[in-house]
């Protein structure tokens, strides 16, 4: 067992609280990346994690709360050594239909003028993450998912 694995004998937990504004999302992503880098997570995994978390936080910022009235977002990351579990909570409106959108695959062959300019977000979330769950309880939305972690960088 190497140093990095030993260090994960106890799960590493990080909590974040932010306002649902683009500026706060950017700042949180920067902090999150630095925190996970310190745990030895590889650059490739960091890229995936930052992308998925950005998509999820952008969705909350744009759809759960009215843009003129930002609200609170709570996020927890748990690194158990093999998987990173991300839980994002907010107190905005419920997801339409009570379930996260499917996120269809972009069409493989489509006419130039029909190329999609949006709708990539949920596709990316669903492609990169696994075990995606959504729950609405009283006034809170909670979305959670996992990202399988690859080999780590040696800890300095």
């Amino acid at each position: 067992m190497n140093q990095a694995e030993l260090a994960r004998a106890e799960p590493e937990v990080r909590d974040y609280r932010l306002k649902s504004t683009p500026k706060a999302v950017r700042a949180t992503l920067r902090t999150l990346r630095a925190d996970l880098e310190r745990l030895g997570i590889s650059d490739d995994d960091l890229n995936s994690i930052e992308l998925v978390v950005a998509e999820v936080l952008n969705n909350v910022t744009e759809h759960a709360y009215p843009p003129m009235h930002p609200g609170r977002i709570e996020m927890q990351l748990v690194d158990d050594g093999h998987n990173l579990t991300v839980t994002v909570g907010d107190f905005g409106i419920e997801m339409p239909g009570g379930t996260p959108p499917e996120g269809r695959a972009p069409p493989g062959d489509c006419a130039f003028d029909d190329l999609p300019e949006g709708g990539f977000g949920w596709f990316l979330i669903r492609t990169i993450s696994s075990d995606l769950r959504y729950e609405r309880s009283e006034d809170r939305n909670e979305l959670s998912f996992q990202i399988v972690l690859g080999p780590r960088k040696p800890l300095r």
């Binding site: 992308l51 999609p116 596709f123």
Partner: protein, 111 residues
């Protein structure tokens, strides 16, 4: 947004100076690039070597730019960093764009 452009032969090279093309700047990015690309029929290359992060909104803006320029003046991309490259690959948009390793290789390939 920090967007610069330079003429290289008949081609227009647009360099993105910012490190992030995300939801908060996607529209500004699209407008700034559009303003830099003049009329004409030369190649248009978007140099992304400074961009460390692009999300789905940023990708949507790049696709929108390509559609704005049209089929006869197809937008080319250069200098994709790993995080940016990943977004194009996962969404299969890498098959829609001509992607060069760098601006220099983009011109070398033409010779």
């Amino acid at each position: 947004m920090e967007i610069r452009s330079a003429q290289r032969g008949n081609a227009c090279v647009v360099v993105v100076g910012d490190a992030r093309i995300d939801a908060s700047v996607a529209t500004a990015f699209k407008d700034a690039v559009r303003d830099q690309v003049g009329p004409g029929d030369g190649r248009v290359l978007l140099d992304l070597q400074n961009v460390e992060f692009l999300d789905s909104s940023g990708l949507g803006a790049v696709v929108a730019l390509m559609k704005l320029l049209g089929q006869d003046r197809r937008l080319e991309l250069a200098g994709l960093r790993p995080a940016v490259d990943k977004v194009f690959r996962l969404t299969r948009m890498d098959s829609v764009f001509t992607i060069h390793e760098s601006v220099d290789t983009a011109f070398a390939e033409m010779v």
